[in-house]
Amino acid sequence: MTTTTSPTKPGPADVQAQLAAFGAFEKDGARRFPAWVTELRRTGIARFAALGFPTPRLEDWKYTNVAPISQLPFKPAVKPSLVALTATDVARFAFAGLGGSRLVFVNGHFTPKLSTISKLSRGVKLGSLAAAMDSDSDLVKQHLGRYASANDQAFRALNVAFFADGALIYVPKGVVVEEPVHLLFIGSADEDGTAAHPRNLIVAEAGSQIKVIESYVSVGSAAGFTNAVTEIAVGEGANVEHCKFQNERPDAFHIATIQSSLARDSRFTSHSISVGAQIARHDINTVMTGEGVECVLNGLYVASDSQLVDHHMIVDHAQPRCASHEFFHGILGGASRGVFNGKIFVRPGAQQTDAKQTNRNLLLTDDATVDTKPQLEIFADDVKCTHGATVGRLDEDAIFYLRSRGIAHNAARRMLTQAFASNILARIGIEPVRKQLDEFLQSRLGAEIRAVEG
C-alpha cells in the first residue's frame, strides 16, 4: 500500500476513500457548521480511520458482510439535492389519514417546500437539525452525540463525520404533542454510491409525550446508501412511541442506529418494520438510566430475493425495577438472509429487572436462511429474564384446520403468514400507520407466497 501524506494513519483503500471524501466535505459542505460541530466531525472521521469498515471477523458483524457497501464509489450527499421533487411525488409516501407535521428530507437534507408543519404547542421545536445548530446551539450541543457512541461502531463514526442534516424534535416538560410527527427520508440517487447520513435528535423532557414515525423510501435511478443515526432522550415520566419503516429500493443499502436513553419512570415503545434494501442493518440500543422504566421494542422484517436484514439489539438494564419486552418476527423468502442478535444486559444492582425477548422466524423457501442469537448477560440475582428464539415453518395443524374448513392450501398459508406479521403490526399505536403497513404487508406477503407456490 502506498503511503499518503494524510495526517491520519493510512488504512485500506475503502477507508482511504472515506478520508478523501471527508477532506472534500470539510472544504466544501461542512463550512457552514459551527466550530464545535467541525470538531465533532473530526473525532468521527478519526474514529472511523481507526476502526475501518467492520468485517465478519467481528462478532457483531459475523453474519453481515458489508463489503458491498465499503466498495461503493462513495459520494456523500454534501449539498441539498437539485432533483426537483414535487408535492405529488411525495404524496404516495404519506400515511393516509395521518394528520400532524411531516418533515421531508431528500438525501438527508431538510426540504421545506415539501414539508408541512402544523401548529405546535408552546416551546415545541420541530425542524432541521442543521438549522438548529445555529438557532438552538446550546440545546443541540447538550444532546447531540451524547447517547449514540461513535467509538465502537464504524458506521456511527462515519455518520458523525458526514451528517449534513436531519430532524430535531424537542418537547418541553409536561407538553403532550397530540398529533404524530412524520419524518420522511427520501433517497434520490441518480448515481450509485450516493450516500446520505441523516442525523436525528429527539428530546422529550420530563412528563412529555410524542409519537414519531421515521420512514425511508427511494426515488431516482440508482442505488443509494443511507447511514442514519437517531438519538432519543426520554425524560422522567415521559412517553415516546417511535415507529420506523424502512422501505428503500431492493438494491439500496441501509445502515442505521436508533439509540435511546430512558430516564426514571419513562415509557418507550419502538417499532422497526424493515422490508427494503439489499443490506439493511438496524442497531437498536436502549439504556435505562433510571428506575421504573417500561420499554417495548417490536420488530418485523420481511425479505426476499437476495436481501439481507439484520437487527442488532442491546437492551441495557442499568437501573433496578425496569421492564423491557422485545418481540421480533422475521419472514424470509427467496434467497434472503435474516439476522437477529438480541443482547440483554442486567447490570450489577439492577434488581427486579423484568426482561423478555422473543424472536420468531419463518423460512418460506429452500434458499432463505436465518441466524439468530439471543443473549442474556446478567449480573443481578433478583431478576426475571427470559428469551426465546424459534425458526420454523407454518404450523401444519393450523394449515390443516383451515383447509378442513374449506380454505385452499395457498390461501391458508397466506393467511397464517399474514397473521404472523400482523401479530407485530398490531402493537403499533398510531392507527393510520398500523393500518397502512398492515395493508402493505398483506399484499407483499401475498406476493411472496404466490412466488413460493409457483
Binding site: 444492582g349 422466524n361 436465518v370 439468530t372 440475582d381 431478576v383 428464539a389 425458526v391 415453518r393
Partner: protein, 482 residues
C-alpha cells in the same frame, strides 16, 4: 443485605473435600514443551512411528496458532514452558497387568475418592479405567468384556495392541488442527481410554474412567476415543478430581466419539476438579474438546455433564449429526461458586436428514461465580426436517454472581424447526421461607431447590452417578450454616 442473603452468603462458602495428595513416586519429564519433549513422551510410551509423526505434526501446527480469546473467561497468561507435560506414577513393574500390580497407595487414593476398583469390579459391575496424572493405572473387568469382543483399555495399550483401530479413528472427529487446546493435546497427550464396541454388541456394563491430577505443576492431557460399530451400544462414565494446589493446573483433554449405523453412545461426566480457594487461588483450568460424530443412520450420541469443579471450565461437548435420522443430546449442570468461571455449552451440527437434537443446560451461579452457556445449533442446507429444542436455565444465588447465555442459531433449511428458550431466576426468598415453614433449614432448602432445578439433567445419569452428583452439588454449595 437482608438476613436471608447473609445466610445464603455463608452457605455458599464451600470447602473442597477431595483435596488430599497421594505420596506416589512419579516419573516426571522436565518442564517445557519442545519437539524433544514430544519425542521423549513418545519414547517413554514406546509408541510406533505413526504416533510420533502425528504428535509432531500437531505440535508444529500448534506453534502457528493463537490461544482463543472469545470465551467469557478471564485468567492470567499461561506459561506453556513451565508446565510438566509428562508425569507417570512409577509403578513397581513396567505396565500394570492387573489390579494386583497397581501401587497400593494409588488404590488407597481411589478408595478415598469412593471408587474402590476392586469393589467396583466385584460388586457394581462397572469397568473402571483410572487415569492419574495422565497415565492409566489399571482397567478392571477386562476379561468379561473381551469375551464380547469389546476393547476397553488405556490409550497406550490400544496403540500397541490395536494400532490399526487407532490409526483409523484417532483425530477423525477432533483433528489436531481443530483448536489450540486440541492441538496441544494431540502433541503431548500421555494416556487416556480407548473403547471399541464391535458390531451388534451391547456393552453389558457401564464403562467408567476416573481421572485424577496428582503431581505438582503438571498438566493433564488425556485422550479418550470411543468407537461404536453398527448397532453397538455403550454407556460410558467419567469422573474427575484433583488435589488442592496453590498453582493453577492445566487440563486439556480431548474426547472423540464415533457412532456408526444404529449405534448409541451415552457419555456422562461428573467433573469435580479442584476449583481453587475462596479467593480464586489455585484450581484447574479445564479446557476440553469433546465431540461426537453420529456417522451412521439412526445413530445417537448423548452427552450428560455435571460440572462443579475447576477454576475455569471451557468445554462444548458437541454432536455432528451426519447420518440421517441421527440424534444428538446434551444435558448439562454447571455450578460456579466463589471465583469459578464456566463457559460451557454444546454444538449441534445438523447435516443428515431428519436429524434431531435436544439441549438442556442448567447453570447455577453462586458467590462471585460466572456461568456462561454458549451453544450453536446449525441446520445445514441438506438437513431436511431437522429439529432442535434447547432449554437454558440459569439460577442465581446471591447478588455478586453472573449468568450469561450466548446461543447461536443458524438455519439454512426451511423445513427445520428450532426452538430455544432461556430463563434466569434466583433462589427465591419465598421458596426458602416455604421450605423453612415446613421445617427445613435454609441450607437444606437451598440444596433442595438447586437439586430440583437440576432434576432434568440428573435424570439422564445412571442411579449411582445421579446420587453422587446430587451430593456434589450439596457439597459445592455447603457452608457454615448453624
Amino acid at each position: 443485605m437482608s438476613d436471608s442473603d447473609k445466610t445464603i452468603e455463608q452457605f455458599v462458602q464451600s470447602d473442597y473435600k477431595y483435596g488430599f495428595t497421594t505420596d506416589v513416586e512419579t516419573d516426571t519429564a522436565p518442564p517445557g514443551l519442545s519437539e524433544d519433549i514430544i519425542r521423549l513422551i513418545s519414547r517413554k510410551k514406546n509408541e510406533p512411528e505413526f504416533m510420533l509423526e502425528w504428535r509432531l505434526k500437531a505440535y508444529r501446527h500448534w506453534l502457528t496458532m493463537e490461544e482463543p480469546k472469545w470465551s467469557n473467561v478471564h485468567y492470567p497468561p499461561i506459561d506453556y514452558q513451565s508446565i510438566v507435560y509428562y508425569a507417570a506414577p512409577k509403578s513397581r513393574k513396567p505396565g500394570p497387568k492387573s489390579l494386583a500390580d497397581v501401587d497400593p497407595a494409588i488404590l488407597e487414593m481411589y478408595r478415598k475418592l469412593g471408587i474402590s476398583l476392586q469393589e467396583q469390579e466385584r460388586l457394581a459391575g462397572v469397568a473402571v479405567d483410572a487415569i492419574m496424572d495422565s497415565v492409566s493405572v489399571g482397567t478392571t473387568l477386562k476379561g468379561q468384556l473381551a469375551e464380547k469382543g469389546i476393547i476397553f483399555c488405556s490409550f497406550t495399550e490400544a496403540v500397541h495392541e490395536h494400532p490399526e483401530l487407532i490409526r483409523k479413528w484417532l483425530g477423525s472427529v477432533v483433528p489436531y488442527t481443530d483448536n489450540y487446546f486440541a492441538a496441544l493435546n494431540a502433541a503431548v497427550f500421555s494416556d487416556g481410554s480407548f473403547c471399541y464396541i464391535p458390531k451388534g454388541v451391547r456393552c453389558p456394563v457401564e464403562l467408567s474412567t476416573y481421572f485424577r491430577i496428582n503431581a505438582i505443576n503438571t498438566g493433564q492431557f488425556e485422550r479418550t476415543l470411543i468407537v461404536a460399530e453398527e448397532g453397538a451400544y455403550v454407556n460410558y462414565l467419567e469422573g474427575c478430581t484433583a488435589p488442592m494446589r496453590d498453582e493453577n493446573q492445566l487440563h486439556a483433554a480431548v474426547v472423540e466419539l464415533v457412532a456408526l449405523d444404529n449405534a448409541q453412545i451415552k457419555y456422562s461426566t461428573v467433573q469435580n476438579w479442584y476449583p481453587g480457594d475462596k479467593d480464586g487461588k489455585g484450581g484447574i483450568y479445564n479446557f476440553v474438546t469433546k465431540r461426537g460424530k453420529c456417522a451412521g443412520v439412526n445413530s445417537k450420541i448423548s452427552w450428560t455433564q455435571v460440572e462443579t469443579g475447576s477454576a475455569i471450565t471451557w468445554k462444548y461437548p458437541s454432536c455432528i449429526l451426519l447420518g440421517d435420522n441421527s440424534i444428538g443430546e446434551f444435558y448439562s449442570v454447571a455450578l460456579t461458586n466463589n471465583c469459578q468461571q464456566a463457559d460451557t455449552g454444546t454444538k449441534m451440527i445438523h447435516i443428515g436428514k431428519n436429524t434431531r437434537s435436544t439441549i438442556v443446560s442448567k447453570g447455577i451461579s453462586a458467590g462471585r461465580g460466572n456461568n456462561s452457556y454458549r451453544g450453536l445449533v446449525k441446520v445445514s442446507k441438506g438437513a431436511t426436517n431437522a429439529r432442535n429444542f434447547s432449554q437454558c436455565d440459569s439460577l442465581l444465588i446471591g447478588d455478586k454472581c453472573g449468568a450469561h447465555t450466548f446461543p447461536y442459531i443458524e438455519v439454512h433449511n426451511k423445513t427445520a424447526t428450532v426452538e430455544h428458550e432461556a430463563s434466569t431466576s434466583k433462589v427465591g426468598e419465598d421458596q426458602i421461607f416455604y421450605l423453612n415453614q415446613r421445617g427445613l433449614s435454609t441450607q437444606d432448602a437451598v440444596s433442595m431447590i438447586v437439586n430440583g432445578f437440576s432434576k432434568e439433567v440428573f435424570k439422564q445419569l445412571p442411579m449411582e452417578f445421579a446420587v453422587e452428583a446430587q451430593k456434589l452439588l450439596g457439597v459445592s454449595l455447603e457452608g457454615s450454616v448453624g
